[in-house]
């Protein structure tokens, strides 16, 4: 004797729910296309002063910033960003060069300014000991 507990309509309902759940899972797991871009974040004394999508930059831009007695120039162009000039004594920020990959960062300690690149990182370590 066949006992039919599920009708065709029930299977369709289950299928619809399963597809819905799968879509929700994918939606949550894979960021929207815009989030694949890399963003540069500039902070001063721990506060964000500018956040910019590096892919959407047009012309080369020099951003002047005064911070804790240090005059800084931050250069932005499509896909990358760097400290290009600083009046700080050690110039570590300038020597850090261009930043373009998610996880890249440069710090000007005397000015208390951080430039970092955020986005999907490709196997970059969680942090670096130095």
């Amino acid at each position: 004797m066949r006992i039919r507990t599920f009708k065709k309509g029930d299977f369709i309902l289950i299928l619809v729910i399963a597809i819905g759940a799968a879509l929700l899972f994918v939606w949550n797991h894979y960021p929207a296309s815009g989030q694949h871009q890399v963003f540069a974040v500039i902070t001063q004394d721990g506060q964000v002063v500018r956040e910019v999508s590096l892919e959407q930059l047009g012309e080369l831009e020099d951003m002047e910033l005064q911070s804790n007695g240090v005059d800084l120039t931050i250069r932005l162009e499509r896909g990358r960003i760097r400290f290009s000039a600083s009046t700080c004594p050690d110039q570590i920020c300038v020597h850090s060069g261009w930043l373009s990959q998610a996880g890249d960062r440069a710090v000007c300690l005397p000015a208390k300014v951080v430039v970092k690149v955020l986005g999907q990182s490709n196997g970059a370590p969680d942090s670096v000991a130095y």
Binding site: D126, A129, Y130
Partner: protein, 347 residues
């Protein structure tokens, strides 16, 4: 009717699982600040991360005021100002730092970490904008003031003293390490299970990544100005602390390059054939103190880690060899984009 309930439950379970997976992969809070004279970054997974991060900033500012010799009212300064004049009341945290420093110093009889190196640090102008080479005579005069055993700690009276007048502690070689342990305790108290803090290059991890995998902590290429790494270590609940000749250095008038780590035996910046030492162990305080194995060179440094017992190390020599201690086998991943280094796995 039962059937509909059954389908509804399946639906809820499916949606719930899809939702919860999304929560687990949520992005962490990443907060930067300038404390303890350096850049500090917190990376926190979990609820109320912002509140936890703010609590940590408050605590780090308190510790900075206590432990830096640049803060006039702090314990480190009080201890130095009253050197040779008997016991001085100290905060709990300061006593903890002094005691940990003594324990680590004793392992090398003060040849690596010695917090009483303060007079020499001052003479060399380390940490200032005007680093200089002191006269050989001045160094000879200051060397007798360096002796970790002259830091007397009295737990009963919550006080400490430097027994000789003129002595000075410099806690720069261990204070950041201690702060790392304090921060990890704060994370634990808030019920977090997955977070880390990077205090000017000292990385202290709590637990593992939210997906259960170990954290990957890069080890900097000592000769890369752009912060490239030579590899990374996989760690869970460990501190990873590096001492190197590249962090702060200066050139004397004769062109000689000097690093910022003073050898307490010679009174001169360390020159031991190493470019950096990275120590991996659970205690951040101990990792920081032990990283002064840098002063001892490859052989002496390895011996220091062995005498401590539960620490592993990555030693990078001036001839660009990377020696990795036996316990790190499988957990050190050599990734040298510069192709300048040779990886040697020991034991």
């Amino acid at each position: 009717m039962k059937k509909q309930i059954c389908i509804l439950l399946i639906a809820l379970a499916l949606l719930g699982s899809a939702g919860s997976c999304a929560r687990q992969s949520a992005k962490p809070l990443e907060a930067d600040n300038f404390v303890l004279g350096t850049i500090v970054t917190q990376t926190i997974y979990g609820n109320a991360a912002q509140q936890v991060a703010d609590d940590v900033w408050t605590e780090l500012n308190r510790l900075e005021a206590l432990l830096t010799v640049n803060a006039s009212g702090g314990d480190a300064n009080l201890l130095n100002a009253r050197a040779g004049q008997g016991l001085v009341p100290m905060e709990f945290d300061t006593l903890q730092v002094l005691e940990s420093a003594r324990k680590i110093s004793a392992l090398s009889q003060g040849r690596a970490l010695d917090i009483t190196v303060g007079p020499l640090v001052k003479a060399w102008g380390i940490g200032t904008d005007h680093a200089q080479v002191p006269s050989a005579q001045l160094i000879r005069e200051l060397l007798p003031l360096v002796n970790y055993q002259d830091v007397r700690i009295d737990r009963d009276q919550a006080s400490a003293e430097l027994t000789q007048a003129g002595q000075m502690v410099d806690l720069g070689g261990i204070a950041k390490g201690y702060a790392g342990d304090v921060v990890r305790d704060i994370y634990r108290q808030h019920g977090l299970t997955s977070a880390f803090i990077n205090i000017g290059g000292n990385v202290v991890t709590l637990g593992a990544r939210p997906d259960g995998n170990p954290w990957h902590i890069g080890i900097q290429n000592p000769r890369s100005e752009t912060g490239e790494i030579v590899g990374y270590v996989s760690v869970v609940n460990q501190a990873v602390v590096t001492s190197g000749d590249y962090q702060r250095y200066f050139f004397a008038e004769n062109g000689q390059r000097y690093c910022h780590i003073i050898d307490p035996t010679t009174g001169y910046p360390a020159e031991s054939g190493l470019m950096s030492v990275t120590v991996i162990t659970e205690s951040s305080t101990d990792a920081d103190g032990l990283s002064k194995a840098f002063i001892l060179g490859l052989e002496g440094g390895r011996e220091l880690l062995r005498s401590y017992g539960q620490a592993e190390g990555v030693f990078i020599t001036t001839d660009k060899k990377i020696y990795v201690t036996p316990g790190l086998r499988g957990d050190f991943h050599f990734e040298d984009a510069s192709h300048a280094y040779t990886y040697i796995q020991e034991g």
